[in-house]
Amino acid sequence: MNLVTETAAWLTNPAQWAGQSGIPNRLLEHVLIASISLGIALLLALPAGLAIGHTGRGAAAAAGVANLGRSLPSLAVIAIAIPVTVLVDPVLGGTVLPTLVAMVVLAIPPILVNAYTGIAEVDRDLVEAGRGMGMRERQILARIELPVALPVVLGGVRSAAVQIVATATLGAIFGSGGLGRFLVDGIAQNDDGQVFGGVVLVAGLAIATEVAVGLLERLARSPGLRDRRKGPAAVIAPQPQLPV
């Protein structure tokens, strides 16, 4: 059997579509752990990034934190987190929690950096106009800066989401479930059909995540700014995304 038929056979086998180790359940695990960690990372990084972008204070420190976080090997972060998470919960601390910690840690840099560069790059004239109209700082942020910067901010969320989906795959090595299990088990059992089935599913989910957040990004672009896409506002270098 060649790889294509073997993969197709594995993917279409009804046994793969039911039960705890079936594709639907693994997909659910993957999406669940990814959503939880993205949610936590957003809660931590987004308010900080918006505040830094608005006030201009702490940008150097945030860039330092972001650069540090980006340099960390994801597998190493999972390993480092284990003794801490085991103290929190003896069972989950050895499986799901360390991966969750790594996902949050690695998702913070792109969200933080894009949020503050996005806000900081908003035309100062717009901000001054808002101030002149008697808007409070909070209103300026919510009604002027955030809507204008939204595509850039979401660009950071997209990088983070893709990174999280990839890290969730790695988590399968440490027993956190998800689609990565098919890769880990397939390699261990020398089962090419399972490996390639897993590759198709994992790559599919990663690309779907990228496309979905990319669509949101496009929708978030204010109609008034749409045809100025190639203008200076759109060429802010987004945080480069790194593979996991």
Binding site: A76, I78, P83, G186, V199, L242, V244
Partner: protein, 220 residues
């Protein structure tokens, strides 16, 4: 919590894995740079090539590395090729983008001045465009190196023969969360990544002395 006698007894192994880590990473970045350089020059000269190159590499970039390593095992076996191909592929995305951006950032006036002085296309590239693109090229090398050092840890999933310091993380986990061994892999791999980052920051500063001059002028 840390078993010091294990560490003392495995210094040789840690040194060996550290060297292997550096070797796998440097090999990946070096091959990746050679390929990217050719691709980027081609894309800078023939613009039509750039969108397909960048779209293809963008898709590749979103695919998790574990999937790429796993897919290659059945094609190229448990060999060093399986470890290096994904490492090289991931560097392409970063390096091609940065080299092209660097060449694009060369001011048109400078290019025209070079033409006016009678430079041939090749002379202009090597003497004018590439030196001016160097800061962005080095910035790309910095990102590529740091990310490759991280990815080398995952090559341990292919076979115990690879993985660099990642070997200890996986082996320690398989021994039932043997923390000393896991930390013996995790901590040096983080140090390695940060050291590489710092090294490139220094190099960036050294090759762009004018940024420092400008900063002091602005301060005075």
């Amino acid at each position: 919590m840390i078993d010091w006698s294990w560490l003392a007894g495995h210094l040789d192994a840690i040194a060996y894995r550290t060297l292997q880590h550096v070797y796998l990473a440097v090999l990946g970045v070096a091959i990746g740079f050679a390929i990217s350089f050719v691709l980027a020059l081609a894309a800078a000269r023939y613009r039509v090539l750039y969108p397909p190159i960048s779209a293809l590499s963008g898709i590749l970039f979103t695919i998790p590395s574990l999937a790429l390593f796993a897919a290659l095992i059945s094609l190229t076996g448990f060999s060093v090729v399986t470890a290096e191909v994904p490492l090289v592929l991931y560097t392409l995305v970063i390096l091609v983008r940065n080299i092209v951006a660097g060449l694009d950032a060369v001011p048109v006036d400078v290019v025209e001045a070079a033409d006016g002085m009678g430079h041939s296309r090749r002379q202009r590239l090597w003497r004018v465009e590439l030196p001016l693109a160097l800061p962005l090229i080095v910035a790309g090398l910095r990102l590529a190196t740091v990310s490759t050092i991280g990815l080398v840890t995952i090559t341990g999933t292919i076979s115990d023969a690879y993985g660099g310091l990642g070997y200890f993380i996986l082996d320690g986990y398989h021994r039932g969360n043997f923390l000393t061994e896991m930390y013996a892999g995790a901590v040096p791999s983080i140090v390695l990544a940060l050291a590489a980052d710092l090294l490139f920051v220094r190099l960036q500063r050294r090759i762009t002395p004018w940024t420092r001059v400008r900063a002091t002028e602005a301060a005075s």
